[in-house]
Subunit: 231 residues, 2 copies
Amino acid sequence: MTGQVLPFEQPDPLGSVRARRSQPPGKARGILQRGEHLFHAGENIESPHLIIAGVLKSYVTDENGEECIIGFHMPGDVVGFEPLVGRKTYCSTMALDTTKVLPLPHLGSPEPDTVNRPDLMTEMYREILRLVHLLQMDRGSTEGRVARFLLDYSELQAQRGCSRRSFVLPMARYDLARYLGLATETVSRVLSRFRDRGWLSVDNNHITIHEPASLLGTAGGPASGVSSDLQ
Amino acid sequence: MTGQVLPFEQPDPLGSVRARRSQPPGKARGILQRGEHLFHAGENIESPHLIIAGVLKSYVTDENGEECIIGFHMPGDVVGFEPLVGRKTYCSTMALDTTKVLPLPHLGSPEPDTVNRPDLMTEMYREILRLVHLLQMDRGSTEGRVARFLLDYSELQAQRGCSRRSFVLPMARYDLARYLGLATETVSRVLSRFRDRGWLSVDNNHITIHEPASLLGTAGGPASGVSSDLQ
DNA sequence: CGACAACTTGAAAAGAATCAATTTTTGTGG
DNA sequence: CCACAAAAATTGATTCTTTTCAAGTTGTCG
């Protein structure tokens, strides 16, 4: 368990960044390149991971081989709760960009490193809220889903001190579609429609919002109690 | 067990719920009648509750006043994790039938009453699995969703020692529709279609499955890793 | 028995997926 | 740095599914 066998699942109980290892693969240092997996579904993972930088997506694969994306994860999020309950992961988690993660100690540590240890139960609860929010989004209209997603993302950016109006989406249209339960063509069309109405500009993955109020109306009002609890 | 603590209406530390004082005596004993709420969204609840008997639904209400049902809860399930993380409930929970619940102690009890205290972290994780399963179901075809629901319910019945082939659905078509993200008419139609193909019989809420294999095919194969983890 | 609610069924309309073709972007090697 | 190939994104036309609207029918409970 605590043996140092596997590269990237290394528990690293103290959370000490063993970054100084000059091993070529960044995986051992908690660095993932775009397209690399942090977890594969069904895997036995060593510990939950806190995301330090970058973005990841979590997904399960349906019977047609299509991804059902259940979440995008940003810095501050925790992924991989399974060690807390003695389970294998139910989903795969892949970096959408160069990403840095930190394995979290999770078994009764005598000296809690409070700074780097978010309350894991609270994190699990946030995961529930996230899923409920997604579920609710899934029930709305197509335009509503896209609008809601953009507004949520915009809000996240703002919370990170970035612009609420102008940002770059880290995921491809395919990912967005798989997250929102739509066809990629539909996502593309809705974005074009929003653009044609003057609500936003689209330059590949760079979005600039011009009329948040219109998006808000389409999304069905301000973020619900569920989503506002997200942060 | 730990009978000292109180039924969730008793406390009312903020005086918010004082209104319904001399209400049904059953509620104070953890008994809910059909249509009664265990929680209301936004409420500060005292403790998680273990369901002893009956069925409940949890839902959030969207901007159109429609329910988005996020779960049906059966005996053995735990609802109301918010006290563990110091939050208010994000959803409402209503009994679909006469239901008995047991408030669970959740703050560091020195002498854990192990028998009646399921591991709450595990319960929260199960909630996550449930939601992911629902999300995945939401992405499938209409017939697939209904078929999957029936098979899941059938399996639950079997686990409780009841017939896997013949059972009574405790929820109305409306609830089913709100759970599956469909119009009630569509649920009705799909059931009729299944009946016409000879896959099952429908007598109001009494379902008898004749061809589980056909339903399985429509549902897109056996329950995924996610759902099979549910129990 | 009667009134109301729940459920079923039908026809029409709306919406998104699919199929198909371009266009744009990205990545690679010369 | 450019050219080319491959991948991603956009757009259009069509088809298919589900919702919506509108009756009916059945069931429940006083």
